[in-house]
């Protein structure tokens, strides 16, 4: 008699992660804080506690005592499919890990589960399955020409050929949210910071693949990381600046892991860089922004890597800015809803979460809801529009540019 095979395997799930499933005490804290669970009208399957419970049951059915004694019991495909949908209804915001009484690293658990299922042929979610092929081919998720990487660069912006500092634009700022790229490059120019860019050799950071359980597919993510690291090395840089939380997190945490070695350069978020300059009194502000500003911590900048103070420090030093905090900030921030593939995969859910976050900001009566990530900006703007709320959504670096008297528009062509 052929022995029955377990319905799930343990690919990508570390031994420690499998133990974490048994360490959940079902205290329910994660459920209280999960932004997608709340925005979905409390869809039971989205609750982090429930995802852990189900995978624990999968494991016990496949490798537990009963399975040992009488053979594994089958898990219907429909159940795995449903689980796949639920585990992708997560922005990887990480608040469930912050509040977990058992200290479980939930985000990595979700990502491992996603990958595990993708390897089985279940998932990823919807059209996300196209990412590896397209990003692998185009080197960016917008399917645009790599040669157009620097097309946005206006004449007034000076980019060195080689420099100690690289500005890693990111696909979103470089192709879609040009204001962010204008602001960052002009601010650096104005402050006399010599920097270079990778141009055609800047490939996607791979975040979209890693977060959606496709880190392994055709080795695309590793290829991207390797290429970028080599390109940065070739520029002779020791510091790399980021104005995108997604790229920043991918570079800081995921690249070294994918490559199995420490990076030969420092990964710095632009707000950290500016904080340092302000401390050294190297910034001469030109205009004052007389507005009340609140700040939304991007998950991938805050909780994932712990940058909370730099953006606040910068905002508080912009003349005229009255800085106010929302209710849920720093490690307890409420996600904007865009991350983890949710914006692309389940836009309604992303919008629902964004609306909740915009409401948090409205409660403070701020004029401007700022953030430090183009995805946050985009999704929060969508949330604002759908609420028809009267609040400006802007990136911290754009506010800095304005206070330095810089334009963040494309120069008018004569």
């Amino acid at each position: 008699m052929a022995k029955k095979q377990p319905s799930i395997d343990t690919k990508n799930l570390t031994a420690v992660q499998l133990m974490e499933l048994d360490s959940c005490t079902r205290c329910g804290e994660c459920v209280k804080w999960c932004p997608t669970y709340a925005a979905s009208g409390q869809k039971p399957g989205l609750a982090p506690r429930d995802k852990i419970l189900r995978w624990r049951q999968f494991m016990n059915k496949s490798y537990g005592v009963k399975a040992k004694l009488f053979g594994p019991s089958e898990i219907p495909d429909a159940e795995l499919e449903e689980f796949k949908d639920d585990v992708h209804g997560c922005t990887t915001c990480g608040i469930c890990a912050t509040v977990c009484e058992s200290g479980i690293n939930t985000v990595e658990l979700w990502e491992s589960m996603r990958t595990n299922l993708v390897k089985k042929g279940i998932g990823p979610f919807g059209k996300q399955g196209m990412f590896p092929k397209l990003i692998g081919q185009y080197r960016n998720p917008y399917l645009l020409d790599q040669k157009a990487r620097l097309d946005w660069v206006p004449e007034d912006v000076k980019i060195a050929d080689k420099a100690n500092i690289v500005y890693f634009t990111g696909c979103t700022a470089g192709y879609k949210q040009l204001a962010l790229a204008f602001a960052t490059s002009r601010v650096l120019n104005k402050l006399g910071i010599e920097f270079t860019m990778l141009g055609e050799d800047e490939w996607c950071c791979g975040s979209a693949l890693i977060r959606t359980g496709q880190v392994h597919v055709d080795e695309v993510a590793r290829t991207l990381a390797k290429h970028n690291v080599e390109a940065i090395k070739a520029k002779g840089a020791t510091k790399v600046l980021y104005a995108c939380a997604g790229c920043f997190r991918a570079s800081k945490v995921d690249w070294p892991r994918l490559l199995g070695e420490e990076l030969p350069f420092e990964v710095i978020h632009i707000t950290e860089f500016l904080q340092d300059l302000i401390k050294k009194d190297k910034i001469k502000w030109e205009t004052s922004i007389d507005k009340t500003v609140t700040y939304h911590d991007p998950c991938h900048l805050g909780r994932h890597v712990g940058v909370y103070d730099a953006p606040r420090f910068v905002l508080e030093h912009i003349p005229g800015v009255k800085f106010v905090e929302m209710d849920r900030v720093k490690e307890f921030q409420r996600c904007c809803g865009a991350g983890g593939g949710v914006k692309a995969g389940i836009p309604d859910l992303a919008l629902g979460v964004a609306e909740s976050r915009v409401k948090d900001a409205l409660d403070t009566n701020a004029d401007i809801l700022s953030s430090a990530c183009p995805f946050c900006k985009r999704n929060l703007s969508d949330g604002r529009d759908s609420l028809k709320a009267d609040i400006e959504v802007e990136d911290v670096i754009v506010l800095v540019a304005q206070a330095l008297g810089l334009s963040v528009e494309e120069p008018k062509s004569e």
Binding site: V16, M19, S23, G306
Partner: protein
């Protein structure tokens, strides 16, 4: 109460029974733990890897992977030193306190009461055992007298926590609705073991509340079986049952907290 009590010369058969039950409990525990360790050990040894071809889950692989994670540096930059994690997050259970002082009080009383009674039961058992083979400067009965007060104190500490937990699960609708068998069984079993301990002790010492109305000859007759009952379910439920129930958190939760350097 919860300690190994009720063994007297008149109860030699009980002693043999107890030894057998203890042995069975240990065997069931060890078997379950091995299966759990193998289940965990079916996982991979590091980030984004595949299981080694053809190899089944192994306890050693789990322990190695766990140790590697405990000792390596984290890229996230919020790891805490092992000693701090051990004392504050595991013994003091800071992560529960940060979320809810009430639940922390509930759990900490269960934890402290339980662990202390467990340790004292262990000591009592050791004394009763050694007494049979070598002469001690005190008798088991004297030792029990010494332990009586701390036993009562920690018994009540445990009871307070268990009652809070039970009341919370039964009467807070949000918690009740989210509870599944896995939760009920743990708190139910802890409740039964705790109460049976109080009753066994009450009958023996004639406590006015916990003797459940027994006195004189009835009490004399029922004290040994009550103690036996308590001892047996303690051993079976609290040792043998660990790997098969939510009790596993007693082992897995501290290991997870350590592996994640105190958590995010």
């Amino acid at each position: 109460m919860a300690y190994f009590s009720g063994l007297s010369d008149a109860l030699r058969i009980t002693f043999v029974q107890m030894m057998i039950v203890s042995f069975i409990a240990m065997v069931i525990f060890v078997y379950g733990m091995i299966i759990n360790l193998q289940k965990w050990g079916a996982g991979v040894t590091g980030y984004a890897l595949e299981p080694e071809a053809g190899s089944k889950g192994s306890a050693i692989r789990f322990l190695k992977t766990w140790w590697k994670q405990v000792t390596e540096e984290s890229h996230h930059g919020h790891g805490k030193p092992i000693l701090e994690t051990l004392v504050l997050d595991i013994l003091f259970q800071r992560r529960i306190l940060l979320r809810s002082p009430v639940r922390w009080f509930m759990h900490f009383t269960i934890f402290a009461g339980w662990m202390t009674l467990f340790a004292m039961s262990g000591m009592m058992f050791a004394v009763e055992m050694t007494e049979r083979f070598i002469e001690l400067p005190f008798t088991a009965a004297q030792f029990r007298e010494v332990l009586q007060l701390p036993n009562d104190i920690f018994g009540y500490i445990l009871l307070i926590g268990v009652v809070i937990a039970l009341v919370r699960r039964l009467f807070v609708s949000e918690v009740r609705e989210a509870s599944i068998m896995y939760d009920w069984v743990l708190i139910g079993v802890v409740f039964i073991v705790t109460v049976s301990g109080f009753v066994a002790d009450g009958i023996r010492t004639g406590d006015i509340v916990w003797n459940i109305g027994m006195s004189g000859e009835t009490a004399m007759a029922y004290a040994p079986p009550a103690a036996l009952f308590h001892s047996v379910i303690s051993l079976l439920f609290c040792i043998a049952f660990i790997p098969y129930s939510k009790y596993i958190h007693i082992i897995a939760t501290p290991l997870a907290i350590l592996a994640n350097k105190g958590g995010e």
